[in-house]
């Protein structure tokens, strides 16, 4: 068939085109990373998602340039005003099997790459020795919880509500009430922080882009994820906001994660606990007064 030769020529033209596109992209990456790729830098899982995305982006751009290039070439080359006749071809089985196979191979490659990256994204590592001292974490069966190899980490419970976030810091002491904060989550660097995310009303979604992906907060479910902030990010505040429509004030349901050095965090936690103990004592004292008043009557 005469179709073959020009198709062949076309293929030869596309390979350099695709190569050029890839090269441009790879060189352009560091400079342009802020508008063509997801946020990263606050945690290894965010970094791994970023690199997986970059692989897909490169493949996607090659496909994009190849196909759009072929389309534009076809439009330019075969416009009727050039005065040639349309070739009455009904198909070409070899070609068709070729691109079906090609697409299938591409898809398999993408699946393999995704699986290769999955562990890094999904499974939390151990805390660094220099990190905040962490306790063993109880297993939460029937959920998507993943634990670090040594099964230790700092567990923080994240509860979404209309319209805010509450964080409960599991201090490993079941006897006392756990410290808690709203909106601002304080976290030690170099420490594996495991989040169990839930809601007390409608569905919300926890998302701090630089610390990795988002996870929905659903009443009645624990949705687990983790982050581990590198040492050099101490003092940084990572911003984020609710990512699931939760009502009229959804836009203002912001959150931030403030990274502290392990010792700063230790001090902060102790202060929080003292504060809590103090207010518990105050409350008890007040209750005693009220009770006493009742008895008087």
């Amino acid at each position: 068939m005469p179709a073959q030769s020009s198709v062949g020529r076309l293929r030869q033209g596309l390979i350099p085109l695709a190569a050029a596109a890839t090269a441009t992209l790879l060189f352009a990456e560091p400079a342009a990373a802020d508008w063509i790729s997801p946020e990263r830098g606050g945690s290894p899982n965010a970094d791994a998602i970023h690199s997986l995305y970059m692989i897909l982006l490169v493949v996607g751009l090659i496909v994009f340039f190849a196909v759009e290039g072929l389309l534009l070439y076809t439009l330019w080359k075969f416009k009727a005003s050039r005065g040639h006749e349309a070739k009455q071809i009904h198909g070409n089985t070899k070609l068709e099997i070729g691109w079906t196979g090609g697409a299938a191979v591409l898809v398999v490659i993408l699946a393999i790459v995704s699986f290769a990256k999955l562990g890094e994204i999904r499974n939390p590592p151990n805390s660094d020795p220099a990190g905040f001292r962490v306790a063993a974490i109880a297993e939460d069966p029937g959920t998507n919880q993943k634990l670090p190899p040594n099964k230790q980490g700092l567990h923080i419970k994240v509860t979404g509500y209309q319209y805010g976030w509450r964080y409960t810091y599991d201090d490993g002491n079941p006897a006392t009430q756990d410290p808690y904060t709203y909106r601002d989550l304080y976290a030690p660097t170099q420490t594996t922080v495991l989040l169990s995310i839930t809601s007390s009303d409608v569905i919300h979604s926890w998302w701090i882009p630089e610390l990795g992906g988002k996870f929905d907060a659903v009443d009645g479910f624990n949705n687990w994820t983790w982050f581990k902030i590198p040492a050099d990010k101490a003092g940084v505040s990572f911003r984020g906001q609710c990512a699931e429509l939760c009502g009229r004030n959804h836009a203002n349901m912001t959150a931030s994660v403030k990274a502290l050095t392990p010792s700063e965090f230790d001090a902060w936690l102790t202060a929080k606990r003292t504060e809590l103990d103090q207010s518990a004592k105050d409350a008890a004292a007040q209750r005693a007064v009220v009770e006493a008043g009742k008895e008087l009557k």
């Binding site: 802020d34 508008w35 063509i36 997801p38 946020e39 998602i49 997986l52 995305y53 897909l56 996607g60 994009f64 196909v67 389309l71 076809t74 439009l75 075969f78 416009k79 009727a80 040639h84 349309a86 070739k87 071809i89 009904h90 198909g91 070609l95 068709e96 691109w99 079906t100 697409a103 591409l106 898809v107 993408l110 699946a111 995704s114 999955l118 994204i121 009303d201 569905i203 979604s205 998302w207 882009p209 990795g212 992906g213 988002k214 996870f215 929905d216 659903v218 009645g220 479910f221 949705n223 911003r239 984020g240 990512a243 699931e244 429509l245 009502g247 009229r248 004030n249 959804h250 836009a251």
Partner: protein, 570 residues
């Protein structure tokens, strides 16, 4: 079936003998004026009513979109309050899906599927009318909520936000009724399409000679029949949760909020294909006609469409990657979604190779079809990116997703609809639309669309969630949103030009004649607009392109004299 039309047969020719050839007990007077539309059971009139009504809803949805974009044009804008903003995107999304794309495809299907298979009407003409009026009822009930409190829980209406505890008032109920009414409309219509296509094809038109557009209407119908009952159940459970004290979606009463998401997306994902597959059909008609070449790989295109439909019903939970779900489930839905990339890629190549080695005429329908190809590709690529669930963890419910599905629904479905309108307008009205205005419209739309939505990928990558009525002055958000808003008005101008074009050409357009584009399918065999009974004689079909065969036959009989192409009016 078609023979039942005894009463409308006209016997005006003087040569007839003065003996009655037919006896009828009564002759119905021909209805004229508005009643001829309201009472009609003619598939062509019903088709036009669908198309016009859908375009009216499209204008409403478009105005809502522009209000959304105006609000987002600058950081901390106060044009719309949060309640109005939520109502606007809820109504916009719902309108575009339920009241614009699905019904306009039903409109094209109604008008052209019977013509393309050489039928005189749909199998059940009265049901066909019923179907249209259920659609109108759905639209009217939904829009009446503007006066009673509009819905604000998004077109996905997730429980428990949509429960009466969090969203009391009429709005969400109106949404539920819209789902039920348009659902009945589509179900009835779908059954009608399936029966018509299965039973009423012209002699010689086996399954392998059916135009691709008819294939896609068939697949669209089958998918509606599979998907709609599920959302009908889901919405009914929501209604009883809201008003009759049940707890299907309420965790505190033993229900499960994720049940809603499963039911919704079991319908919602196929819905996306329901919206785009007839568009595939339109493209598959337009590309061969304007490149003067048969479709490349007819069987592959039909089979790829069917397999997209099949896989499309198995991937619903790729919308639920961020819910608390086991990794194995996520993997299954990721792989399923990847697989859809294969038949989609096949189709894109088949379309490009339909153009390849053709003699391409750059008429407006072709421009929109090519626009579709180039932008649907982008939506397909970003779709694969989103199907990779760890990446979706970053991008889900962000502006990246908004960009992705507008590339599919506007760059894809809407451009295919524009292509279809420019292509078939001469058949429906008997007049051509202006090519000059059409081309201006195309370029405004193409450029405006890409300005609006390309930049939204970056917004999502930079952490901007969707469905937020305001944002602070963070990074580049302000600039990028402003660009997007400007683009949406350029797109709006493009659309306006086409509306003006369509309106003016009704009176001023050049007379089209039966076959202005030298089409391949049977609708071009008959006058424009076609007579009530469509075909006086139904030709025997010998290939996928019966009209090309007829033209060649005529040419060979009348010698070389005919070889010159008809002057395509502009």
């Amino acid at each position: 079936m078609a023979a039942a039309d005894v009463t409308t047969t006209k016997t005006t020719e003087q040569t007839l003998p003065k003996v009655p050839l037919l006896t009828a007990h009564s002759v119905e007077q021909e209805v004229t004026g508005w009643r001829s539309w309201v009472l009609t059971t003619d598939h062509k009139k019903i088709g036009i009513m669908y198309i016009v009504a859908a375009l009216v809803f499209f204008v409403l949805g478009g105005v809502e979109a522009l209000l959304i974009r105006l609000q987002l044009g600058t950081p901390d804008n106060t044009l719309l309050d949060p309640q109005t903003y939520n109502a606007m995107f809820t109504m916009h999304g719902t309108t575009m899906v339920f009241l614009f794309v699905i019904p306009i495809m039903a409109g094209f299907g109604n008008y052209f599927a019977p013509l393309q298979i050489g039928a005189r009407d749909m199998a059940f003409p009265k049901l066909n009318g019923l179907s249209f009026w259920f659609y109108m009822a759905g639209g009217v009930v939904f829009y009446s909520s503007l006066f009673f409190g509009a819905p604000e829980a998004a077109w996905t209406t997730y429980a428990p936000l949509s429960d009466d505890a969090y969203t009391p008032g009429f709005g969400t109920d109106a949404w539920i009724f819209l789902v039920h009414l348009t659902g009945i409309s589509s179900l009835v219509g779908a059954v009608n399409f399936v029966v018509t296509i299965a039973n009423m094809r012209a002699p010689g038109m086996g399954w392998g000679r059916m135009p691709i557009f008819v294939w896609t209407i068939l697949i669209y119908s089958v998918m509606l029949i599979i998907a709609l009952p599920v959302i009908a159940v889901g919405a009914t459970l929501l209604l009883t949760d809201r008003h009759f004290g049940t707890n299907f979606y309420d965790v505190t009463g033993g229900g499960d909020p994720l049940l809603w998401q499963h039911l919704f997306w079991f319908f919602g994902h196929p819905e996306v294909y329901i919206m785009i597959i007839p568009g595939f059909g339109i493209i598959s008609e337009v590309l061969p006609v304007f490149s003067r070449k048969p479709i490349f790989g007819y069987k592959a295109v039909a089979a790829a469409t069917a397999s997209i439909a099949f896989l499309g019903t198995l991937v619903w939970a790729h919308h639920m990657f961020t819910t608390p779900s086991p990794t194995a489930v996520l993997v299954f839905f990721m792989i399923g979604s990847f697989l859809i990339g294969v038949p989609t890629g096949v189709k894109i190549f088949n379309w490009i190779f339909t153009l390849y080695q053709g003699a391409i005429e750059f008429k407006t329908p072709l421009l929109f079809a090519v626009g579709f190809l180039s932008m649907f590709l982008i939506g397909g690529i970003s779709g694969i990116v989103l199907a990779t669930f760890p990446i979706d963890w970053q991008l889900h419910d962000s502006y990246f997703v908004v960009a992705h599905f507008h590339y599919v629904l506007v760059g894809g479905a809407m451009f295919s609809i524009a292509s279809g309108i420019y292509y078939w307008y001469p058949k429906m009205t008997g007049r051509m639309m202006s090519e000059t205005l059409g081309k201006w419209s195309f370029w405004f739309m193409f450029v405006g669309f890409n300005i609006t939505f390309l930049i939204q990928h970056s917004l999502g990558l930079d952490g901007m969630p969707r469905r937020i009525y305001e944002y602070g002055d963070i990074g580049n958000w302000g600039t990028w949103n402003l660009i997007s808003t400007i683009g949406s008005f350029v797109l709006g101008i493009g659309l306006l030009l086409s509306f003006i074009n369509g309106y003016r050409s009704l009176k001023n357009g050049a007379i089209a004649g039966p076959d202005p584009w030298r089409g391949n399918t049977l609708e071009w065999f008959i006058p424009s607009p076609p007579p009530v009974n469509n075909f006086d004689v139904v030709p025997t079909v010998r290939s996928v392109e019966p009209l090309k065969d007829i033209r060649q036959e005529v040419a060979s009989r009348s010698g070389a004299a005919e070889a010159a192409p008809e002057p395509a009016a502009h």
